[in-house]
């Protein structure tokens, strides 16, 4: 179980490969891994967005993410779980978040990955400030509900 917050751009596949090599290479019981990667869009609320700044609350952010992973570990049969999240200045197409879950079976992996991502969206103290193509800056006021059809 691990949480990493990066100030600079990260390659999610390299992070994943490195984590699996160092933490999971001996687990023959793994039968499923579920992965979510969130990347930055170049539009929001009908406007073109050319960048964003992600602020967080050092200490509380990690504490809340840790609680989310523990809740997932308690609710599903997981072998391991990982959250990686960006802060700082981010540009379109760059990864913002990675959630990975390892389990013996796909049901636990799929469901726990979704749960972790949705809990992160509603509980982890991160805040996005967008820079629009017209140079205007604005705070994102609310995350959408991931369970509603859009």
């Amino acid at each position: 179980m691990a949480i990493t917050i990066y100030n600079d751009s990260f390659n999610p596949y390299e992070v994943l490969q490195s984590y699996e090599a160092t933490h999971l290479h001996s687990f023959g019981s793994i039968g499923a891994m579920s992965l979510f990667i969130g990347t930055m869009r170049d539009f929001n609320e009908g406007d073109s967005v050319k960048g964003m700044t992600l602020e967080y609350y050092p200490g509380m952010t990690e504490k809340q993410l840790d609680k989310i992973l523990i809740e997932a570990q308690n609710q599903w049969a997981l072998i391991d779980s990982l959250i990686v999240h960006r802060v700082g200045n981010i540009f379109p197409k760059e990864p913002i978040v990675l959630v990975a879950v390892w389990s013996s079976h796909r049901g636990d992996a799929f469901d726990a990955c979704r749960f972790i991502m949705e809990a992160l969206k509603s509980k982890a103290p991160f805040w996005k400030k967008e820079l629009l193509n017209n140079q205007q800056e604005r705070w994102v006021e609310k995350n959408s509900d991931g369970y509603q059809a859009s």
């Binding site: 509380m60 978040v97 992160l120 705070w139």
Partner: protein, 77 residues
Amino acid sequence: MSIKVRYFASLKESIGRSEDELIFTGPLTVYDVWQQINPDKPIPNHVLAAINMDYVNWDSPVSDGDEVAFFPPVTGG
């Protein structure tokens, strides 16, 4: 007794500072903390509160040495 009060994101910008120190005597709730530090500023809609990095309700009591934080709804991920 004293506590540290912190603000984040759009709330930090609208208040114009990132933290305060509040010296107080007697029992105090999170709501009281806001009222004492920002007497002329109503609590903006949807602002969340935390004590020592855990979410709390507005009627939660604060203790000497606590870190109280106020911030808007979170928008990570």
